[in-house]
C-alpha cells in the first residue's frame, strides 16, 4: 500500500502542463530531501518540489484524513451513510468562508482558511450542544448534524444572495467543491501534524470502536465509557475535517465510500480498517487529483467532481461483488 502511495505521488508530480521527465522528477525530489545535489534546471526543480510535490502530499493527507473520519463516524453512528460532513462541519466551513469572501469580515486579517475553520468548529459545537454533548443516541446526533447543516447552508445562501455578486457566488461554489491549486508546504506541515495526531488517537481507540458493534449500551456493558469516547472521537474527526475543509474545500465522496471499500478488503475490525481506510483514501485522492488535471488541461475541474465521477464506478463494482449471494 505504501509502495502504491509512493508510486502515485511520483506519478502526480510527473504529470502536469509543464512537461518534466520522470528522471528529472526523481532527482528534484532527492535534491529537495538533501540526498543528492544533481544539477537540474532550477525552474524544473522548483515546479516539482514547491508546487507538485506539496500538492500531491496534501492531496494524499486529505484523502487519508477524510477516509479515516468516515470510517470512525460510520462506526460511532452505526450508519453506513455517515461521512465526515454529517456533523455539519462542511456547511459551517462554507458559512465561515462566505463571511470572509463576501462580507469581508476580518478585513484581510482573517484568511479564508481561518474563517472556514472557525465556521466548521462552530457548527460542530452546535451539534455537540444539540446532542447533549454526544450522550444521546446515534440517530439523535445525525439529526442534530442535519439541522446544523441546514441552518448553516441557509445562512450561506442568505449571505450570498443578499450581498454577493455573481462572481463571488461562483468563487464560493468553486471553493466548496474543492481544489488543491493553492496548497504549499506550510499547509502540508499543519496537515501532517493534525493527521498523525488524529490517526494515533484513533488507533489507540480502535478496539474500543469494535465494542460499539452491538450498540452504545452493549459497548457500555463491555466496559467502554461510551459518552467520553464518543465526545473525544467526534472532536478528533471534527478537527481533522475542519482542517482539511479549510485548506482544500469540502471534497465529498471519499469519506463515504473509501471506508466501505477498505472494509471489503480488510474486514470490519478497526485496528486494520482504520489504517487501510487512510491508505486507500490517500491513494484515491492523489489519483483523483491527477485525473482532474489530465481530463481538462485548460480548465480546473473541481476535485470534488472528480472524486465522485471516478469513485462511483469503483463503488458500483464493490457493491456488485459484495452483494449477498441469494
Amino acid at each position: 500500500m505504501l509502495v502504491a502511495l509512493a508510486f502515485v505521488v511520483a506519478l502526480a508530480t510527473t504529470i502536469g502542463d509543464y512537461r518534466i521527465g520522470f528522471g528529472t522528477v526523481v532527482l528534484a525530489i532527492s535534491n529537495g530531501l538533501g540526498l543528492t545535489g544533481a544539477d537540474i534546471p532550477p525552474i524544473q526543480e522548483s515546479v516539482v518540489w514547491d508546487l507538485r510535490l506539496s500538492r500531491a502530499l496534501v492531496a494524499a493527507l486529505s484523502g487519508a484524513g477524510l477516509a479515516l473520519c468516515g470510517a470512525i463516524l460510520q462506526a460511532l453512528l452505526r450508519n453506513p451513510l455517515a461521512e465526515p460532513f454529517v456533523l455539519g462541519v462542511s456547511a459551517g466551513a462554507s458559512t465561515g468562508a462566505v463571511c470572509v469572501i463576501v462580507l469581508g469580515i476580518g478585513a484581510g486579517s482573517l484568511s479564508l482558511s481561518m474563517g472556514a475553520f472557525a465556521g466548521a468548529f462552530s457548527a460542530f459545537a452546535l451539534v455537540a450542544l444539540l446532542s447533549n454533548g454526544a450522550t444521546s443516541g446515534p440517530n439523535h446526533t445525525i439529526l442534530a448534524g442535519v439541522a446544523a447543516a441546514q441552518l448553516f447552508n441557509a445562512l450561506t445562501s442568505y449571505i450570498v444572495t443578499t450581498s454577493g455578486n455573481a462572481q463571488q457566488a461562483r468563487d464560493v461554489m468553486f471553493w466548496l467543491l474543492g481544489s488543491f491549486g493553492g496548497v504549499r508546504w506550510p499547509d502540508f506541515q499543519l496537515l501532517i501534524l493534525v493527521i498523525v495526531f488524529g490517526l494515533a488517537v484513533c488507533l489507540w481507540m480502535a478496539r474500543t470502536l469494535d465494542a460499539f458493534t452491538f450498540g452504545d449500551e452493549d459497548a457500555a456493558a463491555l466496559g467502554v465509557p461510551v459518552a467520553r469516547i464518543r465526545l473525544v472521537l467526534f472532536a478528533v474527526t471534527a478537527m481533522i475535517t475542519a482542517t482539511i475543509v479549510s485548506m482544500v474545500g469540502a471534497i465529498g465522496f471519499v469519506g463515504l465510500v473509501v471506508p466501505h471499500a477498505a472494509r471489503y478488503i480488510v474486514g470490519p475490525l478497526h485496528l486494520r480498517l482504520l489504517p487501510a481506510s487512510a491508505a486507500l483514501g490517500a491513494v484515491f485522492m492523489v489519483l483523483a487529483d491527477i485525473a482532474s488535471r489530465v481530463v481538462a488541461t485548460q480548465q480546473t475541474v473541481p476535485i470534488g467532481v472528480v472524486t465522485a465521477l471516478v469513485g462511483v464506478p469503483f463503488f458500483a463494482i464493490i457493491l456488485y461483488r459484495a452483494r449477498p449471494s441469494t
Partner: protein, 257 residues
C-alpha cells in the same frame, strides 16, 4: 453476611413522569441463580440494567461484592459483570469468533496483544455454547438462536463473576434452552436470569423474583413463589401447580379455561 454478592437497596427509576422500577430491594448470594419473572413491561429488563449499572437509578443504590457500583469505572465493572441483552442487533459482519473476542475488551489495554488467557477464554466460551463448528461463520448468516448462543459465549469470555441474562432462551429450541439454563446454573457464577417460561424458571433457579408494575412482589424459593394465587394475580391466568415427581420443584399446568 459475606456471601452476599449483589445487594440492591430501594432502587427507583423512571422516565419523565413515569416510574418504571419502584423501590426494589434485592439480595443475591454468591453462586446463586436467581430467576426474574413477570408480565411484559413489568420492568424486568429495566431492573437488570439498573443492577448492571447501565442506567442510573433515581434513588437507591447497588452494591457488588460490597462496592457501590456508582463508584466503579465502567471497565472495572465489566471485568466482574457480564450482561446478555434481550436483543442485540448489528449490521457489521463479524465472524462468530470475532464477536466472542469482543468479550475480552475489558481485560485488554489499547495496545496489548492477544494473550493465551484471552485465547483460552474465547475457545472455552465457544465450546460451551456448542458453536465450535461455526466459529468462522459470519454473524449475519446465523439463525436467531445461534446469535443468542454467541452472545452468551461472549458474556462467558468476559470471565465474569456475575452474569445478567435478559431472556437468554427466547430464540432457542428446547434442547438449547435446557442446555443454556443448566450451564448457567452449574457455572461458578452468580446470575440473575429474566425468563418467561415459568416451568424452566422453577426447574433451574435457586430462587425466583416476581415483578409486577415495576415493583418486586415476591422473591423466594420456587416452591414458595409458584402458587396458584400468585400466578393468577400477577399473570391473570388459571394454573394448577403440583410438585414434580423427581425433583420436587413446582410444576405448572396451564388451564385453557
Amino acid at each position: 453476611m459475606t456471601s452476599m454478592t449483589i445487594r440492591a437497596d430501594n432502587l427507583t427509576w423512571g422516565v419523565g413522569q413515569k416510574t418504571i422500577v419502584r423501590d426494589v430491594s434485592l439480595r443475591v448470594e454468591k453462586n446463586e441463580t436467581l430467576g426474574l419473572i413477570g408480565p411484559n413491561g413489568s420492568g424486568k429488563s429495566s431492573l437488570l440494567r439498573l443492577l448492571a449499572g447501565l442506567k442510573r437509578p433515581r434513588s437507591g443504590q447497588v452494591e457488588i461484592e460490597g462496592q457501590n457500583i456508582a463508584s466503579l469505572s465502567r471497565r472495572a465493572l465489566a471485568r466482574q459483570l457480564a450482561f446478555v441483552q434481550q436483543s442485540a442487533a448489528s449490521d457489521t459482519n463479524l465472524s462468530v469468533r470475532d464477536v466472542v473476542k469482543l468479550g475480552r475488551t475489558p481485560h485488554r489495554s489499547a495496545l496489548s496483544g492477544w494473550s493465551s488467557a484471552d485465547e483460552a477464554a474465547v475457545a472455552a466460551a465457544i465450546a460451551r455454547v456448542d458453536m465450535v463448528a461455526r466459529r468462522g461463520q459470519a454473524w449475519q448468516t446465523l439463525s436467531g438462536g445461534e446469535r443468542q448462543r454467541v452472545h452468551i459465549a461472549r458474556a462467558l469470555a468476559q470471565s465474569p463473576t456475575i452474569m445478567f441474562l435478559d431472556e437468554p432462551t427466547n430464540h432457542l429450541d428446547i434442547h438449547h434452552q435446557i442446555e443454556i439454563l443448566r450451564m448457567v446454573r452449574d457455572l461458578d457464577l452468580t446470575s440473575v436470569v429474566a425468563l418467561h417460561d415459568l416451568n424452566l424458571a422453577s426447574m433451574f433457579c435457586d430462587r425466583i423474583a416476581v415483578m409486577q408494575n415495576g415493583a418486586l412482589v415476591a422473591c423466594d424459593l420456587p416452591s414458595k413463589v409458584m402458587t396458584e394465587s400468585l400466578l393468577h394475580e400477577v399473570f391473570r391466568i388459571k394454573a394448577e401447580v403440583s410438585p414434580d415427581e423427581s425433583s420436587g420443584r413446582p410444576h405448572i399446568r396451564f388451564c385453557s379455561e
